[in-house]
């Protein structure tokens, strides 16, 4: 007795690079077309950042720098960075939801590139990140924030932020592989990102007066490096060194969490 062989000539041996690229774009479309049915998601992506900008600017601004306007160059880049970290959790949240709902299994049973479900999601999430950053800048401009540099620097700021966000989102992918419910990804993210973004210079001009050991940690945190580079690109100031350090942190985080995620996924499946 032999095993039946089905259409042996028509089957491809592996996914070609062109097919893989198309798989990724199709799955990115899938993650973005959801917005069409649920426009509230765009509002969700916008409301929290807007609220943060207004609250921080009007409540802390006068105490911190004497006026709202004087605080904006500090707080706008800071909130952009913090928001990117929070938004990065949606990658893990969505991934965990797909796994819990069986959608991920369906994709993996198809003859598509193994990396396509994750890559498609990351591309879609990057588009959402760009939208959030644009909203934050628009609100900033509306209440008196001014670009101190030029359009090229502004575009560079987008590229820097989105690159860092993609690298950092591997932490949320890892969490998604380790927990059972999507909600836990959010809780975990909140517990990690809240202190991470506040233990930096995202909302303050410098670390003067902070206990020395803590100031040292804050000055060298990836968020501080990212925020300083973003300030340089949007307002003016040093960029290159801080941007490189921030990206090095990002690459380091990805190098640790990407293999960990892969391993956790294999164990889980």
């Amino acid at each position: 007795m032999t095993a039946a062989t089905f259409a042996p000539g028509e089957l491809s041996k592996r996914v070609s690079p062109g097919t893989a690229a198309r798989n990724v774009l199709t799955l990115a479309w899938r993650n973005l077309v959801q917005i069409k049915h649920n426009p509230m998601e765009l509002v969700d992506l916008s409301i929290q950042p807007i609220m943060f900008v207004l609250l921080f600017a009007y409540v802390f601004g006068p105490a911190m720098k004497g006026s709202v306007e004087a605080y904006l160059p500090i707080v706008i880049p800071g909130i952009i960075a913090q928001n990117a970290l929070f938004a990065g959790m949606s990658t893990g949240f969505g991934l965990n939801t797909d796994i819990a709902k069986g959608v991920f299994d369906r994709f993996r049973s198809l003859p598509i590139a193994r990396s396509a479900p994750l890559a498609g999601r990351i591309i879609a999430d990057t588009a959402k990140q760009a939208w959030s950053m644009a909203i934050l800048l628009a609100v900033g401009f509306a209440i008196g924030f001014r670009l101190g540099t030029n359009v090229l620097a502004l575009l560079t700021a987008f590229v820097l932020l989105l690159t860092f966000a993609v690298l950092f989102s591997w932490t949320s992918v890892y969490i998604a592989m380790k927990v059972n419910e999507p909600e836990k990804v959010q809780i975990f993210g909140f517990v990690v990102i809240f202190p991470l973004s506040f233990l930096s210079t995202a909302f303050i001009p410098n670390t003067d007066g902070i206990p020395e050991w803590l100031a040292f940690c804050m000055d060298n945190s990836p968020v501080t490096q990212l925020v300083t580079a973003m300030r340089g690109l949007l307002v003016g100031g040093p960029v290159l060194e801080h941007a490189l350090i921030a990206l090095a942190w990002g690459v380091g985080i990805a190098l640790v969490f990407a293999p960990l995620s892969l391993r956790a996924f294999k164990k889980r499946a």
């Binding site: 039946a4 899938r30 299994d105």
Partner: protein
């Protein structure tokens, strides 16, 4: 004879938990193979190995003649999978869900849309085609999920407990669909907890328990082995239950079970029922309740293994396996 699915000695361990203890099975091309077993028996683990989602710890499996580990990409071009949890994107409409699969399979946009419309029509989802899947009922979701697994016209289809949790009407609808598929020559591997479902749909049935195949044969063969039906008698006087048990036991030539005044015995010949009524009457046993029903999975298990399905333990085992998988 050619086989569409051929598994040999599949073993899967999650940490210390053994989900499969060496399962071998074959499904002839164009047939429906029913895999019957309680929660935690290893049905889902086996399906996931055959559908290339996980690799076996030991053993081999050929699907469509290709090795599920070494030639997984080829296997994926032949199969469709409908899991226990409907794998549809709840945020997308019915049409978008199917077009998405079509696009991923490399079917051009226009053709994908036509194929989606055709499948939605076939599964009576046309009216809901432009609604988000999250608004669908349980039965509609399963139908959409099944439709999604058919977009690529698979030659081998895995249905993992396709009707668990569905109401009887939706379940019957799904059965009709599965029967229609086999008319198209598709080979189906169907896992189920319901004896009736396997009986209705499957040409061949394997029964698995605790990761092992414990019986294999056609539905009729299994029934002959375990008794296809159960005769139940409840005497008006509980004190007469013993007498009733003796009478039906002798008639059926099987050991009757007596529980809370209800006597039940497996029978293979439904013609025994009127005889039983007469004998009970002759013995002066007043019958309060008399019924003939199909054997439950539990009874099949009891007959095959001597132990009940102990679903609760089994379920706990499966949960433990899941946890193991997630945290290990």
């Amino acid at each position: 004879m050619t086989y569409a699915i051929q598994a040999d000695g599949l073993v899967k361990r999650f940490g210390d938990t053994q989900a499969l203890a060496g399962v071998s099975l074959t499904a002839p091309a164009g047939a429906v193979l029913g895999v019957l077993g309680p929660n935690g028996a290893g049905k889902t683990t086996m399906t996931r190995i055959l559908a290339t989602l996980i690799e076996p710890t030991a053993g081999t499996a050929l699907v469509g003649g290709f090795d599920v580990v070494r030639e997984s990409h080829k296997v994926r071009q032949l199969i469709g999978l409908t899991g226990q949890y409907a794998g549809v994107d709840e945020m997308l409409t019915g049409t978008e869900n199917l077009v998405l699969i079509g696009r991923l399979l490399g079917i051009p946009r226009r053709e994908s849309k036509a194929r989606a419309a055709e499948l939605l029509e076939r599964f009576q989802l046309t009216d809901a085609a432009e609604r988000a899947a999250k608004t669908y009922s349980g039965g509609m979701r399963r139908r959409l999920d099944l439709a999604a697994s058919l977009v690529g016209r698979p030659q081998i289809l895995f249905l993992d407990e396709p009707t668990t949790g569905l109401d009887p009407r939706s379940r019957n609808g799904l059965w009709d669909i599965v029967r229609g598929l086999t008319d198209d020559g598709v080979t189906v591997l169907l896992t189920t907890q319901y004896l009736e479902e396997a009986d209705q749909l499957a040409d061949d049935i394997i029964v698995i328990d605790r990761g092992e195949v414990i019986a294999h044969g056609t539905s009729d063969m299994l029934k002959a082995q375990v008794g296809g039906q159960v005769l139940e008698v409840r005497p008006v006087e509980a004190a007469q239950a013993g007498t009733a048990a003796r009478i039906v036991g002798e008639l059926a030539d099987a050991d009757p079970e007596l529980r809370d005044g209800l006597v039940s015995v497996p029978i293979t010949d439904p013609g025994l029922m009127p005889v039983a009524v007469r004998r009970l009457d002759d013995a002066g046993v007043a019958v309060g309740e008399l019924s003939l029903r199909k054997s439950s999975l539990d009874e099949v298990f009891f007959a095959l293994t001597g132990h009940h399905t102990d679903d609760i333990d089994a379920e706990a085992g499966e949960l433990a396996a899941d946890k193991e998988g997630a945290s290990a």
